[in-house]
């Protein structure tokens, strides 16, 4: 599968899904006009791709300074997909970049609480 790259807009994050390298990232504010229109296809492709991986090293990087409540639902779904991939025998690392003490730190930690197999790392902006 080729690389999927959607540049950031004022209200949607930069989406970079490098399927061959198994590295994925979402960077920027996320409050799309239509959540399904923005995330539907990429998340569908990711789900399909992850389901076919075994024994791979997979990295997903989140750097979201702000996201709305419908984006939160998508992010939680992504954490769940990644955790499933880890349970299926892949080495999965989720990194979450935010400012220290920001609400986004709390959000990242809350999503991470549900992880059973995937690793989670918080990174603070300087």
């Amino acid at each position: 599968m080729s690389t999927l790259h959607i540049p950031a807009t004022e209200r949607t994050p930069e989406l970079l899904f490098d399927f061959a390298a198994n590295t994925f990232s979402l960077k920027g504010e996320s409050y799309p006009e239509n959540i399904a229109e923005f995330f539907g296809e990429p998340v569908g492709k990711l789900k399909e791709h992850l389901g076919a991986q075994a024994g791979q090293r997979i990295a997903f990087h989140f750097a979201l300074p702000y996201f709305n409540s419908s984006s939160a639902k998508t992010i939680m779904g992504l954490f769940s997909l990644l955790d499933q991939a880890a349970e299926d025998g892949n080495d999965v690392l989720i990194t979450w970049t935010c400012e220290e003490g920001d609400d986004m730190q709390e959000m990242g930690e809350e999503f991470a609480e549900d992880l059973d197999a995937a690793k989670f790392e918080l990174k603070f902006l300087e």
Partner: protein
């Protein structure tokens, strides 16, 4: 300057003054669109940054503003057009600060049949502490999207989590079919 012009200016000044007395710095009443959300949202962020507001408070006000406006765009019962082509939904939004407590308040028509469910849901949310809100937020995110919801159905919980000084809500009967609903978040 004609007398008419003086009346015109007085009327607008009085309206501005009324808003000012309530601490309102932004007010929009009309059909809401995603473009309006983006434009007013940027103005709110800029105004708060220029006013040296705490970065956390600014983010909170912005987050509540987005959820409030998206609620109107998706659910206000006062609308023109239809869902299949293009529709516009009406609401009124105010942003401001009173006694150093920033607020975001929003009002829109809802159908009378939805009022009780909404009141129950908000009463429940208002009664929860931070941990309770967090638990309900995760539960709602994990669960199926409620019937009749076009978003994640977590907007109100999100508003309450951001409202460090709490939320207030109220309902006013308009006629048999409609109720005017208002939600105010204090940050």
């Amino acid at each position: 300057m004609g007398l008419e012009e003086q009346v015109l200016a007085s009327e607008m000044f009085d309206l501005r003054d009324t808003l000012g007395q309530q601490g309102i710095t932004f007010c929009y009443s009309g059909y809401m669109t995603e473009g309006i959300l983006l434009g007013i949202g940027n103005a709110i962020k800029t105004q708060m940054q220029l006013g040296d507001a705490d970065a956390k408070v600014t983010k909170g006000v912005f987050a509540v503003f987005v959820e409030q406006v998206q609620n109107v765009i998706r659910y206000s019962a006062e609308k023109i057009g239809n869902e299949d082509s293009s529709e516009l939904r009406y609401g009124i939004l105010t942003v401001g600060s009173k006694d150093d407590v920033p607020f975001v308040a929003c009002g829109n028509m809802i159908e009378t049949k939805d009022a009780e469910r909404l009141r129950d849901s908000l009463t429940h949310i208002k009664g929860l502490d931070r941990d309770g809100l967090k638990a309900l937020w995760k539960e709602t995110l994990r669960g199926e999207t409620p019937e009749g919801s076009k978003g994640a159905g977590v907007g109100f919980i999100d508003i309450a989590r951001n409202a460090r000084h709490g939320i207030d809500f109220d309902f006013r009967k308009v006629d048999d079919a409609y109720v005017f609903f208002t939600l105010k978040a204090l940050l």
